[in-house]
Structures are given as structure tokens and as C-alpha cells.
Symmetry: C2
Subunit: 131 residues, 2 copies
DNA sequence: CCCCCATATATGTAAAATGCCTATATAGAA
DNA sequence: TTCTATATAGGCATTTTACATATATGGGGG
């Protein structure tokens, strides 16, 4: 998937794939670049990226965050100062920002892919419908 | 993923997900709607949809085709008349065409998602870069 | 004739991702 | 007290993915 741009490729490439599941990662990174915050709030803010509340599973969000932390894209610390259950505050790392830029390239490429598909689809079916 | 349009939803929904792997399916269906043919040729024609030859794995193509046949989206028969190894000729079914239309809706939706992301990305980083 | 190559289809398998469910804890409101 | 919202986390069955390998046909070169 990883459009062979740059030097990161299939298999182990972290911006590889274009599952909408993985698409959650760049969204989280973009939100964190905007402002450091915790998982629960990120979860709510994901809706602005077109994620339906039904498809936002807390388990999935937290797993993405922990995984990104393992990979060094984000960093976290506990915040117990504000009452209520403890929050794990996340912030993006320099490496995370780098990957975010790589994602932007991948996403641009994939957007074009979808556009190309839709063009072909439309021209193929307008013909059929006319006849 | 399955944008909650219409009545097909998560989990068992066949147009769910937006992995580029799954994106191969609507591409195959569109090619087959254009012309019935066999897997090996489909594999080569996938390049026009932006699949790099490196990421086109024969095993994956054939498995997609068999899976779509199980689901009733395509139908196949052996062609041994033309010399060389036997070919499995595929054609799209009525149900397959239906699903192709559903895919077009999903893909339109996801394209918009990617666009929205890129807009946000650009506006966020133009600011940062300026400063 | 034999070997290599392009054509053509298919399976095995380990690793990763996904969806869905459940567990845990805090604290305010009813 | 009980219910609800906030907040994080783990279990687990199924699906997907990447990659490697197996099998067969037939043409061309040596």
C-alpha cells in the first residue's frame, strides 16, 4: 500500500495499509499535534474525522495509543490531579510527527486511488444506464 | 466503516472496512463488469487502479476471487479450450453488481473522509511552518 | 530431449488487526 | 444506595495480510 514513496515499505512499514482502522492512527496523531490530551477525549474528537460513534470502540482506541507508544510515536504520563479516574495524558513525539507527515503522503495517494476508481465506475455505468 | 448508509452494517457487512486489501474487491468487480476474464489477467489489470506490481500477490487475488464466488458475487467455469494451463473464467453476477454499487457509495464516503483529514492536516501545519 | 520460463491456479502458515465483550475504578447525581 | 458518566484496560475468536511454496501446461533454446 505504502505507495513506494520514500524508503518505507510493506510488512513492517508503519504507514502501510489503508484500513480505516489504521486510518485512526494518523487522526490520533493529528489531534495530539493540535493538543496533548487523554484517550477518552481523543475518542470523542475522532468523530470530526468521520468515525461514527458506533464504530469507535474504547478498547481499540486505547490499544492504538499503547501501540503507538511502544513505537515511540507518542509518550504518556498519568494525571491524577484533577479528580475522577486517573487519566493517561498523551503527547506526540518528534518521531510521531514525522510519521504523521508520511501518513499525509500515503493518504493523498490513496485519495487519488479512490478518485480514479470512482471515475472509472461512473464512466462505466453511465454507459450501461443510457442504453 | 460502513458509513451507516442503507441497511448494511459492521461485522458481517461485505462492503465494510476500508483496507486497501478489500479495495481490491470492488476493483475486481469493476473489471469483471467490463469484461469476463480469468484471474491471471485480472491480476495484471489491477495496476490501472494504482496497485503496484510488488503488492499484487497471486495468492491474494485468487483467494479474493474464490471468496467472492462463495458469496455469490462472481461465478466461474473452467476453460481448457485454449491450450496452456486451464483458466478459470470469472463473470460478475447480479448480486455482484449490486455490491459494486454499494462499494461505490462506501468509497465516495471514504474519499471524503480522506479529504477532510488532509484539509485539517494542511491548515494545522501551514500555521506551524510559518511561525 | 531437457531445462527454463511464462502462464495459470492454489494452499500453508505465522503474524497482525478487528470486533465485541467484559472488568476495573472514581465520583457526582438522583 | 444505585445509577450514570468518566477513564482505562484485557480477553478472545475471527479475519486479514504477507510471504512462501506447490502444481501443472506448453513454448523456446541449447
Amino acid at each position: 500500500m505504502c505507495q513506494d514513496v520514500g524508503n518505507h515499505h510493506k510488512g513492517s512499514c508503519r504507514c502501510a495499509g489503508m484500513q480505516m482502522g489504521r486510518f485512526m492512527q494518523p487522526c490520533l496523531l493529528l489531534l495530539l499535534h493540535r493538543q496533548s490530551t487523554h484517550g477518552y477525549e481523543l475518542m470523542q474528537n475522532l468523530e470530526e474525522f468521520g468515525f461514527a460513534s458506533s464504530e469507535i470502540d474504547p478498547g481499540t482506541i486505547y490499544r492504538h495509543l499503547r501501540k503507538m507508544e511502544e513505537e515511540g510515536l507518542v509518550r504518556s504520563r498519568w494525571d491524577t490531579e484533577q479528580g475522577g479516574p486517573a487519566k493517561r495524558l498523551y503527547e506526540i513525539t518528534a518521531e510521531g510527527e514525522e510519521i504523521l507527515h508520511a501518513w499525509a503522503v500515503t493518504i493523498t495517494f490513496n485519495k487519488q486511488r479512490l478518485e480514479r476508481f470512482l471515475e472509472k465506475y461512473q464512466s462505466q455505468f453511465q454507459k450501461t444506464i443510457k442504453k
